[in-house]
């Protein structure tokens, strides 16, 4: 198991949030370069091939969204112009936002690749539980996130199977008009809706069977100690913030 895989869900979540917020304080390109360098090291050193493929699969999102933002921003002049053409003006701030957006998307994708929904939900629940000194249990959040994540997957899997079944049942040699094609598509919603309702019903039954009701304290969080790797990450984050703000940020 590599360094990243050993990390606690809370550490992964806190690191992503801290780095994301921290990037808004950057004033120099080298700061972005440093973060990009760290990301490249993690990308090639800590993620296995399939995880890398999963992130790269979203290359259109990673490039198009920041590019659109850059185009819109270039219509306005936000500071010192470094390049101009027609009505488009690129400034240092535009480039910084472009770079920041790419990094934000990469971090979010990496986080979703290395963290499963249950781990993420438990991390959120535990953090809220700790921040409120155990006053608020946070179990509702955990349940909602887990059920939502599971349902999104279930819903998409059901839809995939329904589409596959439709492909098998439809005879391609028969010619259809667009209108009847559309009607046929609408009918595909029937199994999707009915199967999803049944599944929701089953989840509700399972929750009642497990004793979940208002005020029920289903979640008895196990005490989970941080691993050495987690402390290394927290230490690095603190060190990075101190170096950036106190020493190098003044340059």
């Amino acid at each position: 198991m590599n360094f990243l895989a050993k990390l606690d869900g809370r550490t992964k979540l806190i690191s992503i949030v801290v780095i994301t917020l921290f990037m808004f304080t950057f004033k120099n390109y080298w700061q972005y370069l440093l973060i990009t360098g760290i990301f490249i090291l993690i990308f090639f050193g800590q993620l296995h091939l399939n995880q890398r493929k999963q992130i790269i699969k979203h290359w259109k999102l990673i490039l198009i969204l920041p590019s659109l933002n850059l185009i819109v921003n270039s219509l306005f002049i936000n500071g010192k112009v470094i390049w101009s053409w027609w009505r488009l003006h690129i400034t240092h701030l535009d480039l910084a936002i472009f770079w920041r957006l790419i990094l934000l998307l990469l971090f979010a994708l990496t986080f979703s690749t290395i963290t499963n929904p249950s781990e993420m939900a438990l991390a959120i629940g535990k953090l809220i539980n700790s921040l409120t000194l155990g006053y608020y249990q946070g179990s509702g959040i955990v349940l909602v996130v887990i059920i939502m994540a599971a349902f999104i997957r279930e819903f998409s899997e059901t839809w995939q199977t329904v589409i596959q079944a439709a492909k098998l049942r439809t005879i391609p040699s028969k010619s259809f008009k667009r209108w009847s094609d559309l009607i046929a598509r609408i009918w595909l919603l029937q199994p999707l809706i009915l199967i999803s309702l049944k599944k929701a019903d089953r989840v509700a039954d399972a929750l009642i069977a497990h004793g979940y009701h208002q005020d029920a304290k289903l979640f008895d969080y196990r005490k989970q100690k941080y691993h050495l790797n987690d402390w290394i990450i927290y230490g690095s984050l603190v060190l990075f913030i101190i170096i950036n703000n106190l020493i190098l940020g003044k340059l």
Partner: protein
């Protein structure tokens, strides 16, 4: 003839391929059983063979043509496939059983209704049917397509004995001019119903006939499965020289008949 060449599949989230590189051929006139423990990729393989999922590596040839060569060829291939899903509800698009049977059918609807005894269910919604009735309706729908290859994913799971024998009878009839491939966890039923057995695990793949199985006592254990009673009895009797090794003993009834004949012959002597 459906030929599978060097085929494997790997999920993007997995490090290793689901199963080893597969090479085998399926012929008309036989019922094939795909056997393996849960999670070994049986359903994924069925989806690949039905043209719903592109393999990560390898090819599927139908009458010497690669089914993934073009979209047109793939569509034509799919029109020759009847795939009975694990959960039949996914393919019910119409309001009544009667409408379901008429939807894109090729075969004779009236004949199928009689064959599967669906007369009293015609006005019901397919979602109102019991689990077993849904499975039978699904098979009826797929047979109305007159597919060249009929694939069934746990086609008899949850059915009562009457329903099981109705399906078995129809599959035996259908196999004559077609390929039938089944996934079924009831191994006693598989032994009775199928002619060839495709054993699948994450590392190994083996095609066997019933005679091969009887002469290879540990084949089920090798693939993580518990051998069915019929096979255990057959193997034991062969080992004690009571039964001949080259004969097919697919069910307890047949074995009992042979033993009775042997006893009678002995008495006559």
């Amino acid at each position: 003839m459906l030929k599978i060449s060097n085929l494997t599949y790997q999920f993007t989230s997995h490090i290793l391929p689901l199963f080893p590189h597969l090479n085998f051929t399926l012929h008309k006139g036989e019922i094939y059983a795909l056997l393996g423990v849960n999670g070994v990729g049986k359903t994924t393989l069925l989806k690949i063979l039905s043209g719903l999922l592109k393999p990560s590596q390898g090819k599927v040839f139908w009458h010497d043509q690669n089914i993934y060569q073009s979209k047109k060829i793939l569509r034509q291939y799919r029109s020759q496939i009847g795939f009975c899903l694990q959960d039949p509800e996914h393919l019910f698009f119409k309001q009544t059983v009667a409408d379901e049977l008429k939807y894109h059918h090729v075969g004779n609807v009236a004949k199928i209704i009689k064959q599967f005894k669906l007369e009293h269910l015609l006005n019901y919604s397919p979602f109102e049917l019991s689990g077993g009735q849904k499975k039978i309706l699904q098979l009826a729908i797929m047979l109305l397509k007159k597919p060249e290859i009929l694939i069934g994913d746990e086609i008899t799971a949850g059915l009562d004995t009457k329903g099981q024998s109705l399906i078995a009878k129809n599959l035996q009839k259908y196999k004559k001019d077609h390929i039938v491939l089944l996934v079924n966890h009831d191994l006693n039923q598989v032994i009775q119903m199928c002619d060839k057995f495709l054993f699948l695990s994450s590392e190994k793949f083996q095609v066997m006939t019933l005679t091969d199985i009887l002469n290879y006592p540990t084949i089920f254990q090798k693939f993580g499965l518990i051998p069915p009673d019929t096979i255990k009895i057959g193997q034991e009797l062969i080992a004690r020289d009571i039964l001949l090794p080259d004969t097919i003993y697919s069910n307890s009834e047949k074995i009992a008949q042979i033993i009775a004949t042997l006893i009678n012959q002995k008495k006559a002597k």
